[in-house]
Structure formats: structure tokens, C-alpha cells
Subunit: 259 residues, 2 copies
Amino acid sequence: MNSDELKDTVKVVRNWLVEARDNVLRKIDSRLKVDTKSGRSDLVTNIDRANEQFFVSKIRQFDPEAKILGEEGFGDQVDNIDGRIWIVDPIDGTMNFVKQRNHFAMMISLYIDGQGVLGFIMDVINNELLYGGPEYGVYLNSTKIDEVKNTNLSDGLIGLSGPLVINDNFHMQDIAQTSLGMRIYGSAGIDMISVFKGELIGYISYLKPWDFGAGKIFAETLGLKMTTIDGQQLGVLSSKPVLLATENAHRDILTIVKK
Amino acid sequence: MNSDELKDTVKVVRNWLVEARDNVLRKIDSRLKVDTKSGRSDLVTNIDRANEQFFVSKIRQFDPEAKILGEEGFGDQVDNIDGRIWIVDPIDGTMNFVKQRNHFAMMISLYIDGQGVLGFIMDVINNELLYGGPEYGVYLNSTKIDEVKNTNLSDGLIGLSGPLVINDNFHMQDIAQTSLGMRIYGSAGIDMISVFKGELIGYISYLKPWDFGAGKIFAETLGLKMTTIDGQQLGVLSSKPVLLATENAHRDILTIVKK
């Protein structure tokens, strides 16, 4: 995409997010229809669904040839990375959304032939939007983020997923104890915003494409590393335990994972 | 205290908090002087100290006969609960303050002969203030909080301290797995605001008087339970693992603790 197309796309997607945010906030105090998916802590609500349908219809109008990969299944069956792919998470952190009406995100990303082009993560309640990509740069609201300090694991706080900690998968408890402290926020989007703001030096969780699509683009742009938990390249369509961290913390964590 | 004295005290303390918040925000981007206390994750900064000195000098002027119990030691040696005691935590969640410049709180409470009279918890960055007491009522900014829904452990999210989870003290991992998920925010003040807003059904951590002084007053006013981890009464001057929860979740958690 040339620079005008990038600017235009950013403007259009930001408008979708503003409209979607208004929609969510208007309905946030209403009684939600909540269903479970894979288990009692994997939820979907009528608002997740309506929000994904909203994004899918906007993307179809704006970019009719593209494929869409959406968490709630209103997009397409996507089985290869060829061409233009929009990845949509209408409400990330649905448990927080349901139980807290806080600490949840909306995430969108655009990949072309497997290359990340633009990502968007919006903290809905705090009205914070992280967006951009390798050609466009990365912005938090209107402030450009040029770098994230390359902190060691032992010098920072790390965001983790609760189940990985409880089960001590990949020596997660050792990783937590080597850091200055673990934080558990319950939303990949909120955790990743914290990493790119420099509040956390990394984040580890089992993630699906809609959970990491936008974050992977920011990581690549800002010199952080986002890989599988054992340091392998993270495919756009994979569902795996994912490690996002500063370069130094990534190295420190891999040493512990491979113990 | 009569109702006019309560109103006057609330007004005065709110003004201190506004002024203290301005002071902190003015210095937040400066280079901090950070010292460790009991270990590498127990920090104090020049701003913690300056902020406590600010509160202590305000309290001395306003209530010269009272005793002051402050985290950083600028108050008095307090060894009994007789008379008027002000409890001050100038920066709660100092690790978050140092590493995130976010997710930290200021907390003040007033006890008379061991009875909680007024408490104040301010989320500095979000500018949220929870305040009040049994006679005054409890307010979040200008909205009165009348009740917190009496949710079961299995129906809510719970705030925990990282070390208790890692060491699995008091069957903490079983408690986390019985809930819908654990959250770790790293500041007693921020966790307790979340409980009183209904975002978490409880919070468990090792706490000192300045960590729980204000929260204990709100809990007693709003029908939540705040006790030691084994369900005993929590003395104002004690330093113990503390369990704050809705009545139902408190019962559910004690059952697990006593297994």
C-alpha cells in the first residue's frame, strides 16, 4: 500500500472504532445475553456478535475482495495467508467485559500475503487507541511511539495468563519470580497496550490469531519480539502459547522456558 | 463526630488529596530516587516520602491531638488503638508507580478508639476517589455506592497477590480455579476500588494497616467482609494475610482455606 492508501485506511478504521465504541457504551448497562463456548470461562455475548457483524459489514464495503477472519465466525473460513486478510476481535477480554464492564479491547489488523500492514487495539473504557504498522509508524492516540525500552526480565513487570501460572506451564512461576512481579489483567489487548506503553516488559498467554494479530504488527515495528513460547516464528493463523517481550526479556524468558 | 464535623473532614481531606495528586503528577516524569526496603520488590521513592510528609503536616495542623500511622515512618509510633488515629499510605503500589507510572493509589483513614470513621482511596491516574464511612456513606467520585452485589466465588473474578499464588499459600490456586478467574493488579488500593465497584468479588493479600485501613471502613459500611485469611477479626494495627470479599464469596473462600 502506498502512503496515501495507508493514511486513508487508518482514517477509515479509526472511524469504525469510534462508532463501534459508541455502540458498545450505549448498550453497556443493558442486560447481556451471555453464552459459553469451550468452557465456563470462555464467553461470548450478544454485543461481541453485533460488534463483529458491524466490523464485517464495514470491511466488506471498504475492501470487498479481502478475506475476513473473525473470532465469532461472521467472517470467512480462512485457511491460507494469501492476499488481503482482515482479522477482527470484536470484544477481547469478554470475561472482563461481562463481569467488570471494564478492561476489554477491540482489535483489528490487516495482513497482505502474511505481512502485517496495520493494527488497531482500542481500550474501550479508557478510550486509548494504539494503531499503526511498519510503514505508518505506531501511535498511542496522537502520540508516536518510537521505541520501547529494552528492559531485562529481572527489571520489569510481566503480564501473564492465569491458567498458565496455575498450571506452571513452561516454568511460568519461575518466570514470574525472576521478574519484579506478575500482573494478570485478563485481556490480551489490554496487556499488549501495557507492553507497548512500557508498563510491562512482556506478556505470555495462549493466543489465537484475533488475539495477537494487531500486537504482532506493533512488535515487529517497535523492535520487540513476538514468537511462540519456545522462540519459533509465529504464523498468522496459528493458535499457540505466545511470548511477546522486549528483546532482552525475550532472551531471559526463553532461557527459563528451555530449562 | 457529628454530621457537620464529618462533612468538614471529608471536604478538608479531599482537598489534601487533590493537592497531593497535583504534586505527584507534576513530578511523575522526573527521575525517581528509588530505594528498596525489605527486599527487591519492596520499594520506596522520594515521592512516597514527600507525599507522606505532606499528609502528616496537613493532619498535624488540622487535628493536632491525633496520632498518625504512616507507611514511611514520618508519623508516630502507634502501639494502641486509643483515641484518634490517622493512617496514611502516601503511594500504595510503589512498584507499579515506579515501573508503570500507573495503577497506584493514595490512601488515608481515620479511626477513633478502633472504630473506622472515614476512609479515602484515590486511584491517582484515573482520578477516581472512593471515600466515606459508616455515618457518611460511601461515594465513588460523586456517586453514592449503596451496595455491592453478593456474588459467589464461582461467579466472579478475584484479585490476588502474586506471591500468595506462586507459593500456593492457603490453597490460593484452588481459590483462583474455583473463581471465574484471578486478576493481579499489584496495588491493594486499586484492587479494593475494583471490589467496591463490583468488578472483583474479593481480594486477598498480605496487608499492613496502611494497606487495609480505608478498605476495612468501606467493607463494614457496605456489608462486605474483611477479616484475616482464616476468618478472624482484623485488628486495626495488625499485619496479616487479609481476605476482603462479598459475604458469599467470603464463605466460599474460607471453606477452601480450611480444607
